[in-house]
């Protein structure tokens, strides 16, 4: 029996996922914050900082926070049928795509185990480009996957704006030097996740992206560098962004089909399934 009043949040501790959690807390009876750790993801405990702020604001009964290990699962998702995928999709297998799918797969299992009816994350349109979790097509595919198990996947901060004053020119003070017309201080234009959290008294400033506080409040992962090098340094300049997205979607849809088979086996066999061994 699925509980529609509860929601799981893929929670890194950063301003986007914290904002998603805060918005969810206003609508749902109970919010489960899920932070994931594995070899290569460091400082998972940083997420405790904003998780505590959410607990202080909305109550400990409403907010629960868990740090879950996905090392074995991520390894499996990244390397299962490796030669087949490597031959067919090449460098799309590198780091970020399989990793993000792992996090959603683990969240799906968590929701099924705990009978949670809804899941969300801090996906945002402004990061849409090369990274899988921020592409609308990928989000739609993941939404289908969740929905086939009766779980709703929402992206509450997808349409939020991105702060304007976090570029090189701002960091170096170039605009000030050349007296360029620029928004003052923390004014970031439209509604950003930082601004929403500041208005809720969760963050001390409207824009913390790129600051030391930002580093202290969320997990860190450097593996995106390799994926970034592949996409921005190789595939997109040669084939273009549209072809990149098409190819990525073909790869992702096939990986999602594999994941679906694993979840079906998990529901059928329980403790005897491969997924159970990878998750527990």
């Amino acid at each position: 029996m699925i509980n529609a009043g509860e929601i799981a949040v893929l929670y890194s501790g950063g301003s986007d996922s914290t904002c998603a959690a805060a918005l969810a807390a206003e609508k749902f009876e109970r919010v489960h914050l899920l932070t994931y750790k594995r070899f290569g993801i460091s400082f998972a405990e940083n997420s405790l900082l904003n998780a505590q702020k959410l607990k202080d604001k909305f109550g400990k009964e409403k907010i629960t926070h868990s740090i879950l290990d996905v090392d074995k699962l991520c390894r499996h998702v990244s390397y299962s049928k490796y030669l087949y995928y490597a031959k067919k999709y090449g460098f799309f297998l590198l780091t970020c795509g399989p990793c993000k799918l792992t996090l959603h797969l683990r969240s799906l299992i968590y929701c099924l185990d705990e009978h949670i009816g809804c899941v969300c994350d801090g996906a945002n349109k402004n990061m849409a480009g090369i990274f899988p979790d921020q592409m609308q097509e990928v989000i739609d595919s993941l939404r289908e996957l969740y929905l086939s198990y009766g779980i709703k996947y929402i992206t509450p901060v997808f349409d939020f704006d991105y702060p304007e004053n976090i570029g090189w020119a701002d960091k170096l003070g170039l605009k000030e030097l050349f007296e360029l017309d620029t928004p003052d201080g923390n004014d970031a234009g439209g509604m950003t996740t930082g601004k929403a959290l500041f208005n809720m008294n969760i963050l001390p400033a409207e824009n913390v992206k790129g600051t030391k506080l930002d580093q202290k409040m969320q997990i860190r992962c450097f593996q995106f560098i390799l994926f970034h090098i592949f996409a921005n340094g190789y595939y997109v300049p040669i084939y273009g962004l549209d072809k990149y997205r098409e190819a990525f979607m073909r790869f992702y849809k096939e990986k999602i089909s594999d994941s679906r088979r694993m979840v079906d086996e998990y529901l059928k066999k329980g403790k005897g399934s491969r997924l159970y061994r990878l998750v527990h």
């Binding site: 070899f39 490597a86 590198l94 030097l177 593996q223 390799l226 592949f230 190789y234």
Partner: protein, 54 residues
Amino acid sequence: MKYAFVFLICLLGMMLPWRLRIIYCDILGWILQGIYMAYYYIFKIIINSLKKNK
């Protein structure tokens, strides 16, 4: 030439097993972080000098 270099970096990443690939990515990350920091601070010094002279 540039694409061949990038291809080689990615190919090496593809050939590595799980943990080695992560360590490889982290090393690449720290190298790029070092270049980024050097670039940032050199610019910062130049811009501060320009501001003083302005």
